[in-house]
């Protein structure tokens, strides 16, 4: 199988890339290509042009400054999973990235491509949500920042405009007393998450919960935050009983049912994996 014909552009700067996008409304951005090339081979997508941002130096680095971790859009899953900076400042992201696909896929797939593709069954969107990530975006009209909670609009739809590129993901570095975990139940053939749970909890010196977030992949059309369940944990001792009680009434809106799993089963997975992720996060806090 091979894709239908397209023009190929390989800009060397973000500015050049967004200009090409602005000039070619049917163009798509190519990063690692491990979501885009398969759908092009299946002819589910046939963009007139590809803008390959894989060689833009400004998108390749991981850095830390002023309590923030900044990850360039073209940093690969493998680099994220193995980065000492990410493991220390955002261990949830390293854990989730290390569970994506397989070794070969992790060498090519990128965080920017992943979040921009917005596949609900992928592993990074819930982690980005749970970590309160800010997504930096460049377009022909200038740059802007979008919070992860505003970025995922619908099934494979994001807040990105056609001439915009996600350039950098900024994550507040984990503070003292913070623990996190990503747990997923994957489809045995594809490895995609039927449900993935990303949890972050913070405890004070007495062990009491001062902050919690719990987000899910795979359950509905976008990654979602179970904000009500998480806020129910604040002030608790994060015991197994407190976690079970916070999750007992949790219901993810518009859960997806498909040939792999019914909506009800996904809700059940979310409760089970959510509890597992929260318990592990607590033990790491």
């Amino acid at each position: 199988m091979y894709p239908s014909k397209f023009d190929y552009h390989r800009p060397s700067s973000v500015q050049e890339a967004v200009q090409i996008l602005a000039d070619n409304p049917d163009a798509k951005v190519l990063a690692g290509g491990h979501s885009l090339i398969p759908v092009m081979k299946l002819r589910l997508a046939a963009p007139a042009a590809l803008v390959d941002i894989g060689r833009i130096d400004a998108l390749q680095s991981i850095s830390r400054s002023n309590g923030s971790l900044r990850i360039g859009a073209c940093v690969t899953y493998n680099e994220i999973a193995n980065s000492a900076d990410v493991q220390e400042a955002a261990p949830l992201l390293a854990e989730a990235a290390g569970q994506i696909g397989d070794r070969q896929v992790r060498y090519r797939g990128t965080i920017g491509g992943n979040l921009s593709h917005a596949d609900p069954a992928s592993d990074l969107p819930a982690a980005a949500l749970a970590l309160g990530a800010t997504l930096h975006v460049a377009g022909s009209g200038g740059s802007r920042s979008v919070s992860a909670s505003d970025f995922f609009v619908d099934l494979m739809m994001t807040a990105l405009q056609a001439d915009e590129i996600l350039t950098e993901v900024e994550i507040p570095a984990a503070g003292a007393g913070t623990g996190s975990a990503y747990v997923k139940f994957e489809h045995p053939a594809s490895g995609y998450a039927l449900c993935g749970a990303a949890a972050v909890v913070t405890r004070d010196a007495g062990g009491s919960c001062t902050g919690a977030s719990l987000c899910f992949n795979g359950v509905s059309a976008t990654a979602v935050s179970a904000a009500a369940a998480a806020s129910g944990l604040v002030g608790s001792d994060l015991s197994d009983g407190a976690i079970d009680s916070a999750l007992s009434g949790m219901s993810i809106p518009d859960a997806t049912g498909d040939m792999f799993a019914s909506a009800g089963y996904r809700q059940e997975l979310a409760r089970a994996l959510g509890a597992q992720a929260l318990r592990t996060a607590r033990d790491r806090a």
Partner: protein, 155 residues
Amino acid sequence: MGISIELEVNGASVSKEVEPRLLLAHLLREELGLTGTKIGCDTSQCGSCTILLDGQAVKSCTVLAVQADGSEVTTIEGLANGEYHPMQQAFWDNHGLQCGFCTPGMIISCVDLLNSNPQPSEDEIRHGLEGNLCRCTGYHNIVRAVQAAAETMNG
């Protein structure tokens, strides 16, 4: 519209003018005659098209040839250097194959695995090879081959 690319394949310089949609797997097999690299599922899952791109195992059915411009590629044909690579020898010695179709990609992945983790546990080997499928389910001997190669290569 053709795009000029230059890359190094198994140590030899290659210059080609290619269509942007040409996949690296097709460049290797059809333009360069390196048919050791197989195309199995053609959907980025089975791993039989795995090659080393700048030293990393990647699925060449999911990489455009133009993306490999300026890179070093190693295929199964480039592993042996007068004698079999220790991983090839270990597959031979341990009968790490049945029909052989997955073998080139499997061996390349195993080489990459040992490059990043020279002494993997059995569990790490099995997880490390999750991107390569053997439809004959010959995994036990493949794992033994990797363990044997690790011993040889760690001398």
